[in-house]
């Protein structure tokens, strides 16, 4: 696709946005009925696709500029090639983000004209001025960044990286701005003793944007987008590895998958924390969110989320395990015995401590921090060590135990109202379904992964990586990680919307349509899968379009001999 064609798509999307804003001013609009899907699902599909493309074009620039900077600093051309290849895909998908964004406004207006008019008027300045300006600015900087890649080399590289940083800043601000209206729908302004309508009438735009769940959502999405960028890079690398014809290409794409996965794992480790913060703030805003999510209509959505995250942690560690197998000298790597001991006792100690000192009581840290840091601080003073293989296997065991704790519900019923004795856990064992147990499971997953990756890193430093010799199964693991992370994003996106119950904007604008009920998890899973498949099909096509021609033209020889020592 040529630049003018991409620009045309972006211009059309902006035109759609402006038309939407103008159309929203028309009084007495009536809703259109979307056939087959219904109005709510139609909005859901377009909104989720827009969110996924948005996450790609906001998340990958962070990944790209870090990679470019690493290449510049280490004078390793592989990083530069990686950054440029991902940028090529991002440029194509930028147009898709714009296209789905424009479509989203139209579908929303057509499906819910009254609400959309009200909503756009609440954030008129954002939709009519700030967001379009940021989007145009982002588009210009992205194209400038891409087209100056070859021209700004050598001494000018610093300038190019600075342009990348500017792109990231613009993307970040764009996300922060649009998160304002998004989070407002869940947690609009409220104050004791004042009616919401009065409060809203007196509120400034900033008051509406900086609502209670805005910053937690920003943090969750920044972190999520970095992980997303990493997983997508891993997926691109897996595609290219599968199609590679030479050992040199295989070595490069093996390395690319390794880097993508490493960054994704780093960011994913923080995902449960930022997710918990978001949930905490939402429950603090209105406590009825909490039982609705954890014990009522959405409880099985969270059960599914637990299964997905558990699977992702298993896959991340399995990739490290497969990587370790192709490192010569990995068998010599050992670790203090404290690491597996802490891994085994952590979930149980944590449940006990959190039962006494529940969050946000800082006293729990007095017990938990020394325990978690013990292997890293005191390990060197204890002579007893164990092999990497044993530590990682114990790690896998604890990941399965943690998954079991996380996934054991209080009862097998979709709502608390349907719980009967045959489906409910014995009350003596309620602790297994308590929040301290779930949080201890999450932390154990994180801890086991950190220990495994510390070992992996030691093996890389002490041994020699045979790039391009990784078990072929690992490429499927990278694809599984990308697919599962996007599926989970779709699931949690649905939860964030459904938690508003029968409101467009919680407690403020009710949804009077017949579709304002909670759909079944099965119905949701069909649509989430469909959306994920469409997204994957478009991204796969973009990868083929962006990266295949470069192969025929031939690229600059890279400095990656095979086998290469990873430093």
């Amino acid at each position: 696709m040529k630049t003018w064609q991409r620009s045309l798509i972006v211009a059309c999307a902006l035109l759609a946005l402006f038309s939407g804003v103008a159309y929203a001013q028309t009084p007495g609009l009536s809703a259109v009925e979307f056939p087959y899907t219904g109005n709510r699902t139609a909005v859901w599909i377009v909104a989720q696709l827009h969110t996924l493309f948005g996450a790609f074009v906001l998340g990958t620039p962070i990944f790209i500029v870090i990679s470019e900077w690493l290449g510049y600093r280490k004078q390793d051309l592989r990083y530069d090639r990686l950054a440029k290849e991902v940028t090529k895909v991002t440029v194509i998908l930028f147009s898709m983000t714009a296209l789905t964004g424009g479509l989203f406004i139209f579908v929303l207006l057509a499906a819910y004209p009254q609400f959309t008019s009200w909503f756009i008027n609440q954030f008129y300045l954002v939709f009519a001025v700030i967001y379009p300006l940021l989007f145009i600015g982002g588009t210009i900087v992205l194209y400038a960044y891409f087209y100056t890649w070859d021209a700004w080399k050598g001494e000018k590289k610093g300038r190019h990286i600075a342009l990348g940083v500017l792109l990231n800043l613009l993307c970040m601000v764009t996300m922060f701005v649009i998160n304002g209206p998004t989070s407002f729908m869940n947690t609009p302004l409220k104050a004791e003793g004042i009616s919401v309508q009065d409060l809203l009438a007196a509120a400034s735009l900033w008051d509406k944007i900086a609502n209670q769940s805005w910053m937690p959502l920003n943090l969750h999405r920044i972190d999520g987008n970095v992980a997303f960028g990493g997983f997508m890079t891993g997926m691109i690398a897996a595609y290219m590895y599968m199609g590679a014809k030479t050992q040199e290409d295989r070595a490069y794409y093996d390395w690319m998958g390794f880097v993508g996965n490493l960054i994704a794992v780093g960011a994913t480790l923080f995902q449960p924390l930022t997710g918990l913060l978001l949930a905490y703030e939402m429950c603090d805003y209105d406590f009825s969110f909490c039982p609705y999510m954890m014990a009522d209509q959405l409880s099985m959505f969270f059960e599914m989320q637990g299964a997905m995250i558990g699977l992702m942690f298993l896959a991340m560690n399995y990739y490290a395990w497969l990587s370790l197998k192709r490192i010569e000298g990995a068998e010599r790597v050992r670790m203090t015995i404290l690491a597996p001991i802490v891994m085994v006792v952590l979930p149980f100690v944590m449940v006990a401590v959190l039962n006494v000192y529940w969050i946000p009581d800082p006293k729990s840290l007095l017990f938990l921090l020394p325990l978690i840091l013990a292997p890293f601080l005191f390990g060197r003073f204890i002579p007893k060590t164990v092999s990497a293989r044993v530590v990682i296997k114990i790690g896998f065991l604890m990941i399965i135990v943690s998954d079991a704790i996380w996934l054991t519900p209080r009862g097998f019923a979709a709502t608390g109202a349907n719980l009967v004795p045959g489906l409910e856990m014995p009350s003596d064992w309620d602790i297994l379904a308590s929040m301290p147990a779930k949080i201890s499971a999450i932390f154990t997953l994180m801890f086991a992964t950190v220990v495994n990756y510390v070992l992996y890193n030691r093996a890389i430093k002490q041994g020699t990586i045979l790039w391009g010799k990784i078990d072929f199964t690992s490429q499927f693991v990278l694809i599984l990680l990308a697919f599962t992370s996007i599926w989970t994003m779709g699931l949690m996106g649905a939860v964030r919307s459904l938690v508003r119950k029968y409101f467009h904007t919680y407690s403020l604008i009710p949804d009077f349509t017949a579709e304002s009920f909670t759909p079944t998890l099965s119905y949701s899973a069909w649509w989430i899968t469909g959306i994920t498949v469409v997204f994957f099909a478009v991204v796969s096509l973009a990868v083929m379009v962006a990266l295949r021609p470069s192969e025929s033209k031939g690229h600059v020889p890279e400095s990656a001999p095979v086998p290469a020592r990873a430093k």
Partner: protein, 266 residues
């Protein structure tokens, strides 16, 4: 093959032990199967860890394997989600319609629908009058009642129905998610209410519902400080619904239940 058989045997033994222990501890069958499932998952993971490496595939084979893998993922995720207990939306649809009824009536949509209905009724009555005038002669006066304005609806709720309405509000507002009553619902998020009628009058209960900070239950100081009880019911509920809920709760005077004493704060 030896690797698979060994891990499978270990998985079955561990699973068997877990099922046995769960049975002894009176976990329902579905939980016993869940624990067995985790043991088998563990066996599968350890089989994978020690499995021989997969050989690099050619481009065409990779593509086929990739498509098959995506199909497998889609099937597993949809099947997994469908296998879990499903919430029946029909349970909620009626609830939502009841909760939003007053707001729908008060909304522009409701007003428009009402106006259209009135206009239709007027049109029909005018037509009927025209027919009647033709048969009776034009000099007859038209009574005001026949001019088209329908009589205002009268709503009178008998005491029994009123209590029923209160109980219905308890269900609609999902109070049971936080409060235990008649041994059902509540997970210690809020106080048990079986004896609330002995401590508070109907007006005081009403005050607590509309202004959650007005009373604090003993032992729920943290929850009260954090404002755990949502301050939204005054906006969500009609005054008569609040009255009905408060009146119904006021009838609960079961002294054998340890309902915490409410302390007046406002």
């Amino acid at each position: 093959m030896g690797n698979v058989m060994k891990k499978l045997a270990i998985g079955l033994v561990v699973g068997g032990i877990l099922v046995g222990v769960a049975k002894a501890l009176e976990f329902p069958f579905v939980f016993q199967m869940l624990f067995l499932g985790f043991a088998m998952l563990g066996a599968a993971v350890f089989m994978l860890l020690d499995a021989p490496p997969l050989r690099t595939m050619s481009g065409g084979k990779s593509l086929c394997a990739l498509v098959a893998f995506y199909l497998l993922l889609c099937t597993v995720y949809i099947a997994g989600a469908s296998f879990l207990p499903q919430f029946d939306p029909e349970d909620e649809k009626g609830k939502i319609a009841k909760i939003l009824k007053s707001q729908i009536d008060a909304s522009e949509k409701g007003k428009t629908e009402e106006l259209i209905a009135r206009a239709k009724a007027l049109d029909e009555q005018v037509k009927a009058l025209e027919v009647r005038l033709k048969t009776l002669g034009v000099d007859q006066a038209v009574p005001a009642q026949q001019a088209g304005i329908p009589p205002a609806p009268t709503t009178s709720v008998a005491t029994g129905d009123f209590m029923k309405l209160g109980e219905e509000q308890w269900q609609l507002m999902e109070c049971y998610n936080c409060h235990k009553l008649r041994g059902e619902g509540g997970k210690k998020r809020g106080p048990e209410l079986d004896n609330i009628g002995s401590f508070l009058t109907v007006d005081e209960i009403k005050q607590k519902i509309t202004d959650p900070k007005s009373f604090m239950a003993e032992g729920f100081e943290k929850e009260w400080e954090k404002g755990r009880m949502p301050d939204k019911f005054k906006d969500l509920m009609e005054p008569k619904d609040i009255q009905a809920l408060a009146s119904w709760l006021g009838t609960f005077k079961n002294t054998s239940v340890n309902t915490p004493r409410p302390i007046k704060k406002k």
